[in-house]
């Protein structure tokens, strides 16, 4: 039965991908990309990769779609729907040859789901067996244990990559000054009663859910990345409905920049604490008297650092993209009919 779901979802994905190529309207293409991400999140759940599914759903179907829509809104490319379809036989030829070579390569691979595949023989059983002993017997989510402790150095590099991306976009799109320059009433949909009424109870619940996902990452799917993205999504919703100027009342550009750096600092600090206490970089065993407590503390700290950085970066990206454009023609009319909240 699971195999049937797998086959059907993959077929949907193939159809969606072909639709994305053929769509000329960019707005529609971005929406179908969101659908593509959501379908792939479902597929990851079927393949037992629940953390990956969670991340793909929140990052791919959430933040990526928002950023692309913000780009389209800023460049006003929604109106210019036309772009010449160039059927390029060379590109098609290259793609077909590469695809054929890859398919030829798959004939050597073990079939899908094979329990004797070589990938399952070396590190994976070690992690699955030794997590209760090495890390902590109260962290059943092996993915979090591997991500934060066994492979913690990779995750540190990844957090630094997100930090670098934020720095690059800040340099490209104007920095904290652009965010702090308050656009009076621009981009506000809050004059609309329905949207205001439905967003108002949702925003605190979303933020609360983000915190839940952050701290529940030890026991179920979750962790720093997903939590940061969900928290940022709550802030983005607030900014969309009440206007970016009100959203920046607490999260000003400068504070966001500080938060972006703070998360990486916490992560690096946890690593350096290991050195200071006499061990290696990111050696959590020394952070408390009992090595298992130390591991738990270390994982908590690094996930917190990751969560803070990711939330601040995603919010900064959104505010930078939307702060760049001219207010759209309908935004002046929104404030006319109904009064301010």
């Amino acid at each position: 039965m699971l195999a049937l779901i797998d086959v059907v979802l993959l077929a949907f994905l193939a159809v969606t991908a072909v639709a994305i190529v053929r769509l000329r309207d960019l707005f529609a293409a971005v929406m179908v990309t969101g659908i593509f991400s959501l379908l792939s999140a479902g597929l990851f759940t079927v393949m037992d990769a629940v953390d990956v599914a969670f991340t793909e759903a929140s990052v791919g179907a959430g933040i990526s779609t928002i950023l692309m829509l913000a780009t389209l809104a800023v460049t006003q490319d929604v109106e210019k729907k036309r772009w010449r379809r160039r059927f390029s036989p060379l590109a098609l030829g290259v793609v077909v040859v590469t695809g054929a070579a890859l398919v030829y390569g798959t004939f050597d691979m073990p079939r899908y789901g094979d329990p004797d595949a070589p990938i399952h023989h070396y590190l994976a059983p070690h992690f699955l067996e030794h997590t209760p002993d090495d890390i902590n017997e109260h962290i059943p989510n092996v993915v979090t244990a591997v991500l934060a402790s066994y492979r913690g150095y990779d995750t540190f590099g990844e957090t630094t990559v997100i930090f670098t991306a934020a720095v690059m976009v800040l340099m490209l799109l104007g920095g904290a000054a652009t965010i702090d320059r308050r656009r009076p009433g621009g981009g506000r949909m809050g004059a609309n009663v329905v949207l205001r009424a439905s967003a108002k109870p949702l925003v605190p619940l979303i933020l609360l859910f983000g915190l839940y996902v952050q701290f529940h990452g030890d026991f179920g799917p979750g962790g720093g990345f997903q939590a940061g993205v969900i928290f940022a999504a709550g802030l983005v919703l607030y900014a969309l409905v009440y206007g970016p100027d009100r959203a920046q009342a607490i999260f000003t550009g400068r504070r966001l920049e500080a938060l972006v750096a703070l998360g990486v600092l916490i992560y690096g600090g946890a690593g350096v604490a290991g050195i200071v206490l006499g061990g290696e970089f990111l050696d959590y065993d020394l952070l408390a008297a009992d090595p298992q407590d130390g591991q738990h503390r270390g994982i908590f700290l690094v996930e917190l650092g990751v969560g803070i950085t990711v939330a601040a970066v995603m919010t900064t990206l959104f505010l930078l993209f939307t702060g760049r454009g001219q207010p759209a023609p309908w935004e002046d009319r929104v404030g006319e009919s109904e009064g301010t909240p």
Partner: protein, 111 residues
């Protein structure tokens, strides 16, 4: 679990799937924007709610049921709000409504 509960959950999930299938057909075949919105705004939420209800009955009284109920409430709030946002944006962009049909002679029609 009793046969009645099982049957109820299966019926609910099948009904929800049928509703969603009809929604898809409506979106594909209806001619213009506002009628397509008619097709999706109610049935989208209804279909999802039916499927979630069927799953909740399958899960019994457990944490999974509580989560499913919360998802259902969330969808019921955001689904209609999203449809409203779509219509409002279209209206503000002056997307044209379908032209009113001229009244036939002697026809007491609603138009």
């Amino acid at each position: 679990m009793s046969v009645w509960l099982e049957a109820l959950s299966w019926l609910s999930m099948l009904a929800g799937s049928l509703v969603l299938l009809v929604t898809g057909l409506g979106v594909l075949t209806l001619p213009e924007y506002y009628s397509r919105l008619h097709a999706t705004s109610i049935t989208d939420t209804l279909g999802a709610a039916l499927v979630l209800f069927g799953l909740a009955v399958q899960a019994g009284w457990s944490l999974a049921t509580a989560k499913l109920v919360m998802v259902m409430l969330f969808l019921m709030i955001t689904g209609p709000a999203a449809s409203h946002a779509l219509v409002k944006t279209a209206a503000l962009h002056d997307l044209s409504l379908p032209p009113r049909r001229r009244q036939e002679d002697g026809d007491a029609g609603a138009d």
